[in-house]
C-alpha cells in the first residue's frame, strides 16, 4: 500500500517537473524521486507499528479521556457528566490519596533499596574470584521467578503463623512481624520480594562496573585514595548514568506495580475470589493499594468506568512525566548513529 502511495506521488512530480522536462530527468528530479521512494520504504517498514500505535495507544488514550467525562457502567451508552468523576476521585475518594501515598512509599523505599542492593550485589560479583559463575547464576535466578509464583511463595515463607521466616526469627529471639497480614509490614515484605528479584539490576551494574577504566582506579590509588574514596570519586561518577537509568525505570515499574501487591493481598487475606466472595485489593487495611489496582477495582469490580478512567489518566500523566527524564539527550536513550 505504501509503495503504491510512492508511485502516485512520483507521477504527480513528473507532471509538474517544470524546466528540465519529462524527457531528460534532472539530478534534482532523481533526488526527489529517491527521497520519495525512501519515504515509502520507511512507511512500509514502520507500518505494523503505526497501526499498533494508533489502535493500541492513541485510540484508547483519547477514549479514556472521553470516558473520564462520562457516567458509564458498561450497560447502555456513556452519558456526559462533566467534571463529576474528577471531583469524585480527587475530593471524595480517600483511597485515591492512599494509593498515591503507598506509591510514594514504594518509590522512596522500594526503588532506592532495590537500586542500592543491585549495585551492592553487582560490586560483590565483580570481586568474586572463586565460583563466580555459580554465584552469578544464583544471584540472577530469582529475577526469573514468575511474579505470581514468587509472591505466592513469599506469602508462604512470611506467613506469620506457619511460615519459616518467622520461625527462624523466633529461634534467634527477634520479633516476628505479621508481614503480609500487618498494614505496617506489608510494604516492607513486598520490598524484600522486590530485592530478592534484583538480578536484572545486578547484571546491568556488573557490566557498567567492568567498563570503568582501570587506570582511573590505579591513579586514585597512587594518590592514596582508600576503597571508600575510590568508590566515591571513581566508581560513582562513572556509573551514575546507569544509576539514573535504574532509578527512573524503577519508578516507572512502581507506577505499574500490580501483580505482586494484588496476589499478596489475596493470599494473605484468605479471600481469594472464592465461592462468591469478591476480593477488594489493598489488604491489609489498604496498605498495598496502588493506582493500577484502583483502575482494576473501579473498572472491573465496581464498574464505574468514568472514575476508573480518571485514575488511569493520572497514572498516565505521572508515567509520562517520569519518562520524559529518560528522553533527555544525556540519558543516551535517544542516541543516534549519525
Amino acid at each position: 500500500m505504501s509503495l503504491a502511495f510512492g508511485t502516485r506521488k512520483r507521477n504527480g512530480g513528473k507532471a509538474g517537473a517544470g524546466p528540465s522536462g519529462p524527457a531528460a530527468p534532472s539530478t534534482q528530479y532523481l533526488l526527489r524521486r529517491k527521497r520519495r521512494r525512501e519515504a515509502a520504504r520507511t512507511l512500509a517498514f514502520l507500518s505494523p507499528w503505526l497501526v499498533g500505535f494508533g489502535v493500541f495507544f492513541v485510540y484508547p488514550l483519547v477514549s479514556t479521556a472521553y470516558f473520564s467525562f462520562t457516567s458509564y457502567n458498561g450497560f447502555g451508552q456513556p452519558s456526559f457528566n462533566g467534571l463529576k468523576n474528577w471531583d469524585y476521585v480527587f475530593d471524595q475518594l480517600p483511597t485515591f490519596w492512599q494509593g498515591l501515598r503507598n506509591t510514594l512509599w514504594l518509590v522512596v523505599v522500594m526503588v532506592s533499596l532495590r537500586v542500592a542492593f543491585g549495585l551492592g550485589v553487582g560490586m560483590l560479583i565483580t570481586r568474586v574470584k572463586t565460583g563466580a559463575g555459580f554465584f552469578r547464576t544464583v544471584f540472577y535466578l530469582p529475577y526469573l521467578a514468575p511474579p505470581v509464583a514468587a509472591t505466592v511463595a513469599f506469602a508462604f515463607l512470611f506467613n506469620p503463623g506457619t511460615g519459616p521466616v518467622n520461625h527462624l526469627l523466633g529461634e534467634i529471639g527477634l520479633p516476628q512481624p505479621g508481614w503480609f497480614a500487618d498494614p505496617d509490614w506489608s510494604k516492607p515484605a513486598l520490598t524484600l520480594l522486590a530485592m530478592w528479584g534484583v538480578g536484572d539490576l545486578m547484571v546491568i551494574f556488573m557490566a557498567s562496573l567492568l567498563d570503568v577504566p582501570r587506570e582511573q582506579y590505579e591513579a586514585a590509588e597512587l594518590d592514596g585514595a582508600g576503597p571508600f574514596q575510590r568508590f566515591r570519586y571513581v566508581t560513582l561518577p562513572n556509573i551514575s548514568p546507569i544509576i539514573m537509568f535504574a532509578v527512573v525505570t524503577g519508578v516507572i515499574q512502581t507506577m505499574q506495580y500490580y501483580t505482586q501487591a494484588i496476589v499478596a493481598g489475596k493470599v494473605a487475606s484468605g479471600i481469594a475470589g472464592n465461592s462468591g466472595q469478591q476480593f477488594e485489593p489493598g489488604y491489609p487495611g489498604g496498605s498495598t493499594w496502588t493506582l493500577p489496582q484502583m483502575v482494576y477495582n473501579l473498572g472491573f469490580q465496581r464498574f464505574n468506568y468514568g472514575a476508573a478512567c480518571v485514575v488511569a489518566l493520572v497514572l498516565f500523566a505521572i508515567s509520562m512525566a517520569v519518562t520524559s527524564i529518560l528522553l533527555r539527550r544525556k540519558s543516551g536513550f535517544m542516541a543516534n548513529d549519525d
Binding site: T126, V152, D200, F333
Partner: protein
C-alpha cells in the same frame, strides 16, 4: 566494549593490578595477607547473599514434599517425602489446559512480536527520515505506559466490538503490530551494526527487505534471541492481561492466573501450592539455563550507556 565479554571472562578484582612487591619482602607478605582477607570477606558476603537468594527456593521445595498436615507446621524438613504431590498437582483439573494456553500465548505472542518489531526497529535505527526522533519518543512512551491506563477502552473494544472476551486473543493479536519494548531493544542493538555492511549490501543490489533478511538478521541474532526470550517471559508471567480478558472462562486461563486460583482452592494445602509454584517456575528456569547468555546480554542491552 560489548557487554558479552563480561560474561565469559572472570573479572579481575580492582586491586589485583598493583605493582607486585618483591616476593618474600614484608611488604609482599602484608599484601598477600590483605589479599587473603579480602578474598575471605568477599566470599563470605557472596555466600550470605547466595543464601538470601536460594533459601526461598529451598523452603518452597522442602514444603512441596511434605504431607498435608506437616505443611501446616513450622517444620523445615519433610518427615515423609511426598513425591506424589507433584502428580496430584499435575492431575488437577485444568492444569494441562493452563499449560497449553500459556504456551499458546507465549509462543504465538513471541513469534508475532519478533516478526512485527524487527522491521520497525531497523527503520528506526538505520533509515533517515523526518520525524524519526518523534517516532522513537512515541515508542519509548508506549513502552513506559502502564497497561492499566488503556485497559478500559481496550477491554470494551475487545469484548463488545470483537466479542473476544474470555479468550487470550485480545492479548496475542496486538503483538502482530509491534511491541514497543522489543522495538526499542532491537533498535539499540541494530544501531551498533556498522553502516558499511548495509551499504555494501545495497551496492550488491539488495533491496531493503533483502538487506534486512540477508545481512542484518544474521548479525542481529543475539538481540533477536534476547527479545524473543523477554517476550516469552513477559507472556509467561503476565497476570493482569489474563485476569482482565480470560478470567471469565476457565478454559482460557494461563498458569500465572490459574496458580492463584489453585492457591484459593487449596488454601492452606501449602505443600500442593508450593509444588504448583515450582511447576510454574520450572520451565522459565530451565529455559534460562539453555539461553543464559542471550538473556543476560539482553538485560545488559536495556541499560543504555550514557
Amino acid at each position: 566494549m560489548t557487554p558479552s565479554n563480561t560474561l565469559t571472562e572472570a573479572p579481575a578484582p580492582t586491586g589485583a593490578t598493583r605493582p607486585a612487591a618483591r616476593p618474600g619482602s614484608p611488604a609482599a607478605r602484608a599484601a598477600r595477607r590483605r589479599a587473603l582477607l579480602d578474598w575471605v570477606a568477599v566470599h563470605s558476603l557472596a555466600v550470605a547473599a547466595a543464601l538470601f537468594f536460594l533459601l526461598p527456593f529451598v523452603f518452597v521445595l522442602l514444603t512441596s514434599l511434605m504431607d498435608d498436615q506437616q505443611a501446616l507446621t513450622t517444620d523445615y524438613w519433610p518427615t515423609h517425602w511426598e513425591w506424589g504431590n507433584y502428580g496430584k498437582v499435575w492431575n488437577t483439573p485444568g492444569f494441562l489446559t493452563w499449560w497449553r494456553n500459556t504456551l499458546l500465548y507465549a509462543g504465538a505472542g513471541t513469534l508475532l512480536t519478533v516478526v512485527s518489531s524487527l522491521p520497525v526497529a531497523y527503520a528506526l535505527a538505520k533509515f533517515r527520515f523526518r520525524g524519526r526522533n518523534l517516532a522513537l519518543m512515541a515508542v519509548i512512551a508506549m513502552m513506559m505506559l502502564p497497561p492499566q491506563v488503556t485497559v478500559i477502552p481496550m477491554y470494551l473494544f475487545w469484548s463488545k466490538q470483537m466479542g473476544l472476551s474470555g479468550s487470550l486473543w485480545p492479548l496475542i493479536i496486538p503483538m502482530a503490530f509491534g511491541d514497543a519494548f522489543s522495538i526499542f531493544l532491537l533498535r539499540q542493538f541494530l544501531m551498533t551494526i556498522p553502516k558499511e555492511y548495509i551499504e555494501a549490501a545495497r551496492i550488491d543490489g539488495c533491496g531493503d527487505l533483502r538487506t534486512l533478511l540477508r545481512v542484518v538478521l544474521p548479525m542481529a541474532r543475539p538481540a533477536i534471541a534476547a527479545v524473543a526470550l523477554f517476550q516469552f517471559f513477559y507472556c509467561w508471567n503476565d497476570y493482569f492481561g489474563p485476569q482482565i480478558y480470560a478470567s471469565n472462562n476457565r478454559e482460557a486461563w494461563t498458569l500465572s492466573y490459574g496458580l492463584e486460583s489453585f492457591k484459593a482452592a487449596h488454601h492452606t494445602n501449602w505443600n500442593l501450592t508450593m509444588a504448583a509454584t515450582l511447576l510454574v517456575m520450572a520451565p522459565v528456569i530451565i529455559l534460562f539455563f539453555f539461553a543464559q547468555k542471550a538473556f543476560i546480554e539482553g538485560v545488559t542491552l536495556t541499560g543504555v550507556k550514557g
